[in-house]
Symmetry: D2
Subunit: 424 residues, 4 copies
């Protein structure tokens, strides 16, 4: 793992400046009636799960260009996740993907404990065929026209629950690529009926203290219709299944221009918001690093979450879900965790009393200015202090680079093969 003396040396070089910045920010916030210590405490309480698969280099259907030292096993992935949490103190849990991460649960628990991590929601995979698989998902899984294929997909999800129980997870996220590429290829209504039937079978196998998350996506890998295409269909699904079913919002899974923060507010009102997959995007499901393309959008999502944080029963599962194609995945996950945490802290310093007053008076200009004032506050000193106090790095990317981790693991992990994605 990362040598703590490196983190400490890196921090030592930055601490005086940080103190000055923290004090100046504290004074400025105090003038606005805000206690910087309370904000730092909120920052320290923040955590977002890291996806095990995010530690490998991702790709597109055109190509994948792996770097050196790619993780070759779930053990390697957990090592990398441990590095991220050691440096950020913001990613205490890992989310597994089955069958990619299938392993002896006891070993998983042991390894996670070793690197200081817990397990978040389990993720099933019925959008790819595995070598040993009886029936193909080429034409769908939970919504397939063939009952035996649906049953196979249901059983895979039940197995994910079993593995999850053994390692201390408490939720299952279901995302399927089922849909169609051509008008007419499937019956839009009957395909949804079949999907609901399969989901009910999975729901029936859900332990009492578990939740199941339904994740919507407008398109890809299906290009004409997708069974769970939007939050409306996801809501219908969660309503039909029962109280343990909730909706998961992936920021990149919407039509162009859609106001995602409204969806957040609506799902909270419906009592059905379960959590998030964080990432950023400009065009489609680009799976870019969180907060790198539209940081204000990320802030606006958090603004809803903070405004409604006392909604009855709200218990959100936050996860990063990104594809790291041109960066060191560890660095992208570090940056993303920090950017998500940043938006949370920025949203936490909105002057909600003033905002509510401006809203009540329809003073649109000042209401909007109140939000923007929070967004443009540079809360880096808060985030840095939170990390410092938690024993992590003031500048986690610098510390990571200083640690030489990537070169170290590149020396002992096999070189991954690139390849052509979905194109021959």
């Amino acid at each position: 793992m990362i040598d703590r003396t490196i983190i400490e040396a890196e921090n030592a070089a930055r601490q005086a400046d940080l103190t000055a910045d923290y004090d100046a920010l504290g004074a400025r916030l105090a003038r606005r009636g805000l206690d910087i210590e309370a904000l730092t405490a909120r920052a320290m309480s923040f955590g977002v799960a890291v996806p095990s698969w995010g530690t490998g280099t991702g790709g597109t259907r055109f190509a994948r260009f792996p770097g050196g030292g790619e993780p070759a096993s779930i053990t390697d992935k957990l090592d990398d996740c441990g590095v991220i949490h050691a440096l950020t103190a913001a990613t205490p849990r890992v989310s597994l993907h089955i069958p990619w991460d299938k392993a002896d649960p006891a070993l998983l628990r042991e390894k996670a404990e070793e690197v200081g991590l817990g397990f978040d929601a389990m993720n099933s995979n019925t959008f790819q065929d595995q070598p040993d698989q009886g029936r193909s998902y080429k034409y769908g899984s939970l919504s397939h026209t063939d009952a035996a294929t649906r049953r196979q997909a249901v059983e895979h999800n039940l197995e994910c629950i079993e593995i999850g129980r053994a390692i201390g997870s408490r939720a299952l996220t279901v995302w399927i690529g089922d849909g169609s590429n051509f008008p007419g290829q499937t019956s839009l209504s009957r395909q949804f009926d079949r999907y609901l039937d399969s989901m009910k079978a999975i729901y029936a196998g859900l332990p009492d203290d578990w939740r199941i998350f339904s994740e919507h996506k407008i398109y890809e890998p299906a290009f004409y219709s997708t069974v769970v295409q939007d939050w409306g269909t996801s809501l219908m699904t969660a309503q039909e299944l029962g109280p343990k079913a909730q909706c998961l919002v992936d920021l990149g899974h919407h039509a162009p221009n859609v106001n995602i923060e409204m969806i957040v507010a609506r799902l909270i009102r419906a009592g059905k918001l379960g959590g998030f997959h964080f990432n950023d995007s400009k065009y489609g499901d680009d799976d870019l690093d969180s907060g790198t393309v539209e940081p204000f959008r990320l802030f606006l999502v958090w603004n809803e979450l903070v405004e409604l944080e006392d909604a009855p029963g709200l218990d959100l599962a936050h996860m990063i879900d990104q594809s790291h194609n041109v960066t060191d995945p560890i660095e992208s996950l570090i940056v993303s965790a920090v950017e998500i945490q940043r938006a949370y802290v920025q949203a936490s310093l909105v002057d909600r009393a003033a905002l509510a007053g401006f809203q009540a008076e329809n003073d649109a200009l000042m209401a909007a200015a109140t939000l923007r004032a929070a967004f443009r506050t540079d809360v880096d000193p808060i985030l840095q202090t939170a990390r410092l106090r938690a024993g992590a790095a003031i500048d986690p990317v610098a510390a990571y680079r200083a640690s030489g981790w990537r070169a170290r693991v590149a020396a002992r992990r096999p070189q991954a093969a690139g390849g052509g994605g979905g194109i021959v």
Copy 2:
């Protein structure tokens, strides 16, 4: 009204060709196992409501360019609507907009009867301020922060119901422009709460045999958030109100790329599809003539409606909702009614048994080809025969032009003023 001898003369000139075309099509359909007479009967059973306001020239925020003979009153509008139905036999009802069409109900009933029309859903208007209005809707109506403004908007809707009862309508369509232009301007959650409270007050005043339609729209006139922004929110509204509340789908009110036919299928499954506002569009809520920009999309919507036409309790209110900026509005409404009817008939000749078989076998190519085969069948002879048999015009636009209607009314109606839309 239109002189029947003109229609008859126009029809006489086309009848021989029509007979030949009808016979040729009949033979071709027979080979596919389809009875042309049954399809013609379906075409004759079709009806779509015309919006009273659609008979005037519309405009954009930049300008409005009225033509000659614009209707100056609801009486004029009903005359124009009567012309459309006389020529198409496809638009038996008119949908009124209050306060634009406010008049003595007895006179409305009498005039409608005179021109051979009934009344469809009532439409309320809380997106504009009227001269005599106590409170402004600048910052919202049913969701306004001010209780008195909400009450005013509720009462306006109750008045629409009263007028509707007096003229034989059985439904109220509620569309509001409420929302916000800037992040922070309103609380997305509290604004929706206020909207639901207002809608419940209207619902409480709904007669037992009435329905209330909730209409969603992604944006415009509000440009950052809209209270009922999508079908998910519309569904939540209808669910919260009760069994008499349903969702209305306007084809132009969605984000780019959204698969509207899926929404249709979902709302039918939820038992909450109430009806449609038909139009076409390329960019936003363009309100173009139905079937002129993406005719295949219109067909795919109808394909769902025909596939699911036996869904329990399905009772749809179909209306045209367009803005006619560069055409004679009567002509645009004629063309639109025919195009909607065309899509209905095309969807009716889909070989559903073959389609279901291809879908069951995942023969995507043949399933898609089956739909396309129906779409590309030129059903003009069926539509023309349906009109001929109903006493309408084989070529309704030609007959309309031959009738000289527009010149006639231009001589007796005042010239409308143009103007600059929302721009000074």
Copy 3:
């Protein structure tokens, strides 16, 4: 005008805090090798033109809700523009729109001088019909099928040049709404040919020291095709006209997801970027206040402008072009000018040497982080100091409200009528 003692009193109350903030920021920037004084000087050199029409409340095709004290004449508008510049020191010029602002040039010059303003680009209007106009623009203007209508539109543009010469303007911006609403309505190719012919006739009348700006827009008011639909067509136009012709980029005039900063870079390379219309948007040409919806996008545009600011011959005309529907227009213009200036200053503190280094090494993560570090720097102290030193207000909205300007002019200007936009 605004009483200077009010500005001074408002500034006095904020000056101590500003000094502290400015010093803290200066120290922090110095650590990054940046001189806060140089940045303040850049801020003070910044200017963006205000559109005369922006001082009135705008609207949509659904409605317009004017406030109190709307300007009733170009004199009133210039007064309002003078207020904005007095408070921000960032809007030294006004852009006129003919015929809305037609008046005796000598009086225009005199009034502008009185309120401390100059004149920016002239704007012609051939998207509305004026009462005294011979031919209608319902079916187009510079690209109309009728030669006499095209001639009328050309002559109107030539008249705009004449007025502009008399008041010291040096540029003409041409934006037309010409296009079509239906496939087939116009010949896409011949309509463009006619447009180019008309533009050449205008170009022939352009003084040697003038420029003509071609402004593209994807849609609205035309909904199927628009003659100058994108920057490619605008570039072809500018290339065909000659060296005095350049392209103007309105931030809201693009298809969803389009990368506007790339267009900026391309047009600069082609030697054809003439200037900007600033605003913000979420869905279409929403004309919202600059920097309120996607502030990072505004920053990225400025990042290109700063990176390429030494491109040969680059001489940009910056203007705000917004519709203020729910705010006091003066306040929206103040906020917008400040947000545009903010993005300029943020882009000015990008560490370009470091950025170029990361780019050269394909260190995508650090390159992106370098841009974000500039963006999230809160440069308010710089902007406030720039205003203070220029005799304007540290907090211009607060000073404006303290001045009571709106109430004062509401008492002497007539109440504007609202209305229904493009809808009857």
Copy 4:
């Protein structure tokens, strides 16, 4: 290859019906002043190239699900392409992709001759790394920051030209995935400069009778910026290179809502339209079968091509470019070729004199109706007759299935492996 007796038997079973349909359509067209024989001759003159790689099953970044009998070599691919042409008589040429199709040119020529095909444009590949490649394209190819990498990419393109010369090709299509995933990752301007330099080096190696096609794409595989992002940049490229450089339009490579037929018209006016990559899409670059999602859009593109077919120097290279994920690729290519041909014939029966008249009079309704009348004409009898007369199949998919081709090659070709696309 396909046994001709099967085609003949299949045709024999359909010939009587076809004769009846052809005669009925001929009579109907004659009434509209159209000669069906001339249209059939046009259909017979039509040809579109097939991409060699299109004969294999494609995939997404999530997965690829190959079918049986996938082509394992360029010989297999040419066999499959030969089958398509034998059945449709509409795909006389194949477009190769290097290095996927690299082989001895003499053998390529011989094999192509054997299956009755010629060679269309060559396609280079610098968006994937090949096993033996010196430098990686992870961070770009022709626009890479590293000169040696750019040189390698240039040389690969020059090699494609060499291979093309040896097999009788006359054009090179250049599409690169270069761009960036994050704001700041690259200098948008310098990256384009480097691209242009590389393209000039390729252009310098272009034989006199060759053309080079620049293909734009808004995004993917790069997700923030793409060097040749739209037709404007493609046009600048072609202008800078010289007369042998032209622009290639792939129908799926545009932002949502973009009017592609306008781009076609503009590029023709600029003398820079080189050809097309045909496919269809609903969301992004979905690469679906041509004419299956928005058939009217395909028609409108062809409407421009037919309207402007006499433009000086117009010489278009038509190719299909699709990914066949859920169908037999041969069947998808058959259907696509037929749909493209269909749109061409439909566009050919537009009454252009009537259309021009309506356009001149601004009779928007009748102009639009004129286009739609052509589109909804079912020209199947023309296409079927064209195939019959050329010795191909009236119903090519039925004949293909009857031939048992897929089962036959599945028995002799190795089973392809599926896989996980760009995702681990």
